[in-house]
């Protein structure tokens, strides 16, 4: 029914507008869901629209969103990165140790942690593009390797000793009252948008994900670009790990167990296709906020955490179902 109405509306639009509209529809769905949740929470929970709570959500979502932006790139190439949670933990502990044990200044510590992530990403990328491992397997391996390493270097206990100013990354507020984590989301998202839409790397990521052989036969150095995408994903996982470490002012070797699932869920809810060739930064951000708000709302409304899991699972089903439904319509119309 709804679909018929939609079709009859869209058929009256000029084709160019219609094409763009189709691109936007899956995000509209997720974005609409996001608005509904915001509206709902602000009505039922007096605590929701408070500065404290919003700040809390913003800094909570920061590391998930940053990591999800990296994974968006990977998923666009028809790959997957399961290792981001473990890589974030490894980066967090090593970054904190660089500051605490080696005495590096905070910016270098953050950079160091990010580079650790990039290194893990490079290994992922080479395993995928040179050794030819399936991305699922390559990054599944990294998931356990990075986790193991982070326990080894810390003897499985949290590491401390970063200067106090390290807290700013995950907890600071700028002069205008803007939380630094929120600023980070905006900057990373903008950078991600530019990379995806304005650079060779982004274009080739879509091309590789859409049709790898066509990309290769068009002279695109597929291996190099595939590797780069995993490096970016690793670096952003590392950076996300530093944000998370900053929030607790310590490196936690057991941070982010299962986080990759939230991250991938955010990307998929945002309209990216696991078959590659599709995905946007805006969609991923919407997905990340949607998940964060479901968690936040459950806390505010005192919903049992186990129910949160169920709600998020159902949201993933709905998002992907809607996406498939939309594609089937599209296919039927073009036949």
């Amino acid at each position: 029914m709804i679909s018929n109405v939609l079709t009859s509306i869209t058929q009256r639009l000029p084709d160019a507008v219609r094409d763009r509209l189709y691109d936007a529809v899956s995000q509209l769905a997720a974005g609409g869901a996001l608005l509904v949740i915001i509206l709902f929470l602000s009505i039922v929970s007096p605590d929701f629209l408070t500065a404290d709570n919003l700040f809390n959500v913003g800094s909570q979502v920061a590391y998930t969103a940053v990591m999800a932006i990296g994974v968006t790139l990977v998923i666009i190439t028809a790959g997957i990165d399961l290792s981001v949670g473990s890589v974030a933990a490894l980066s967090g502990v090593l970054g904190v140790m660089m500051m605490g044990n080696l005495g590096l200044p905070v910016p270098l510590g953050i950079l160091g942690g990010t580079l650790v992530g990039a290194g893990a990403g490079l290994v992922n990328g080479l395993l995928v593009s040179v050794a030819g491992l399936n991305p699922f397997i390559a990054t599944l391996g990294m998931l356990t390797v990075a986790r193991g390493l982070s326990y080894i270097v810390t003897d499985a206990v949290a590491v401390f000793g970063a200067p106090d100013s390290f807290r700013l990354l995950g907890q600071g507020v700028l002069a205008g009252g803007i939380p630094i984590p929120v600023l980070i989301i905006i900057l990373v998202a903008l950078a991600g948008y530019v990379v995806l839409n304005r650079t060779r790397l982004g274009r080739y990521a879509y091309a590789i994900g859409s049709n790898l052989e066509a990309a290769r036969l068009s002279g695109i150095p597929v291996r190099r670009y595939l590797t780069s995408v995993y490096v970016i994903s690793g670096a952003l996982a590392g950076f996300g790990g530093m944000i998370a470490a900053s929030r607790v002012a310590s490196g936690q070797p057991n941070f982010g167990i299962g986080l990759e699932l939230d991250v991938i869920a955010a990307v998929v809810i945002g309209g990216a296709s696991l078959f590659g060739g599709q995905g946007t930064i805006l969609g991923t951000l919407i997905g990340a906020f949607l998940i964060a708000l479901i968690r936040n709302g459950s806390v505010l409304l005192d919903v049992n955490t186990y129910y949160q899991q169920i709600i998020i699972g159902v949201v993933i089903w709905l998002a992907v179902y809607w996406d498939q439904f939309r594609r089937k319509r599209l296919a039927a119309e073009t036949e």
Binding site: R200, Y206, S210, N211, E213, A214, S218, A332, T334, E335
Partner: protein, 504 residues
Amino acid sequence: MSSAETERAPEPVIRLRNISKEFPGVLAVDEVDLDILPGEVHVVAGENGAGKSTLMKLLSQVERPSAGEIELSGAPVEFHGPRHAQNLGVAMVYQEFALAPDLSVAENLFMGREPGRFGFVNRRAETSEAGELLERVGLDLSPTRPVAGLTVAEQQRVEIAKALAIEAKVMILDEPTATLTEREIEELFGVIRSLTDEGIAVLYISHRLDEIFRIADRVTVMRDGKVVDTVPAGELDENKLVRMMVGREITDLYPKHEVEIKDVVLRATGICRGNVLKDCSFEMREGEILGFAGLVGAGRTELARAVFGADRIESGSIELDGREVAVGTPQRAIEAGIGYLTEDRKGEGLALQLGVDKNITLANLPASFGFIDLGAERRVAERQRERLDIRTPSIRRAVRMLSGGNQQKVVVARWLETKARILFFDEPTRGVDVGAKAEIFQLIGGLAEEGRAIVLISSYLPELLNMCDRILVMREGSVSGEISRNEFSEERVIALATGAEEAS
């Protein structure tokens, strides 16, 4: 059909009365009447989007008609889905085969109808019945062997046997020869004939003209969802059929330009790759269209891919303008001015989800320091759209939504943007409408006229005989001969391609 014929004609197995199928916004099948007689090969021809496939889906009850009636042996048929159609004896043999690769041939043949009781499968009965079915379709293989490892042609035969297993009265074959070699096609036609001899009606969907004349008893031409006419095959010729399919006169299917042929621009010598290419050599000249003829699997595509650097070669050299170059990868070939339009447009040529513009610029993205110049990209795409007359409402439209002919033009546009002077066209008209074919040949002729050197690979001989200046014939990975235009004949090419006669 005259009334005298109608009286003599047997009762139709299937009769469609005023059948229509409407999809949102599209009338895919528009008040179609069609009679299928027992024991006939009835070809349904038409361009892409003419409604052939939808019509078949209505018959096999994959789709429910919006209006009209289907009668089977005189009795009206209710719509209950594909399974019901099968039970009534209407079997569909799909283009993409629906066999389970890890199960045995016999298990596939009886899937969902396993002989036996109480949930147990009587394997012995299954195997022996499978053996009989395989014999009827001319397949000499063990029913217990897994489907994985069968050739496409063999799998297709298994599909047909599957239709026999349900005692089909009508068998629908949708573009069955798309991926078959010439010899396999010959065998398939033999099997089809043996089916019709048993009284089974075969509905055959195709847009390959040569085949239509070889196999059809009657031809129904569809256009824009309507039946144009149903005609005995004997009363048709190529021109008439094309006119019916396209709806207008195509004066020249193969516009051949007169071009002065100049110097050798590319010389490939002694190209070897395993068993696939054995010591292959050829030359390409400026302004010349060189054809690669041969049976499927003779190494034509492989030779083109080797020169383009898409596959590694073991030995051999490539000279451009008299200088030896190391190609090795598509990237370097493109830099050297070589382009390759793959035979598998959707599988290897296009990023289907991406827009027309992005596909056009894929091999030569206007960018500096890694940043794309979006304005330049738009201008490039608009220019190519105009030049090649790519019919799309917007250059941002996903190429998936374009017709085959327009998709092919997008690929051509991509290679023109790389400034390629040497172009390999591998089956450029596959899946392209008759009308668009003439356009693509016009384009290829124009490119040669501009001084490009062109290789045209085609399995349809008339294309090569009409368009090429010279034809290189391949057989089993080797170059078996070369024929220049004034010596062209179908017989010579076939002789060289099959080895029936050594080059004299």
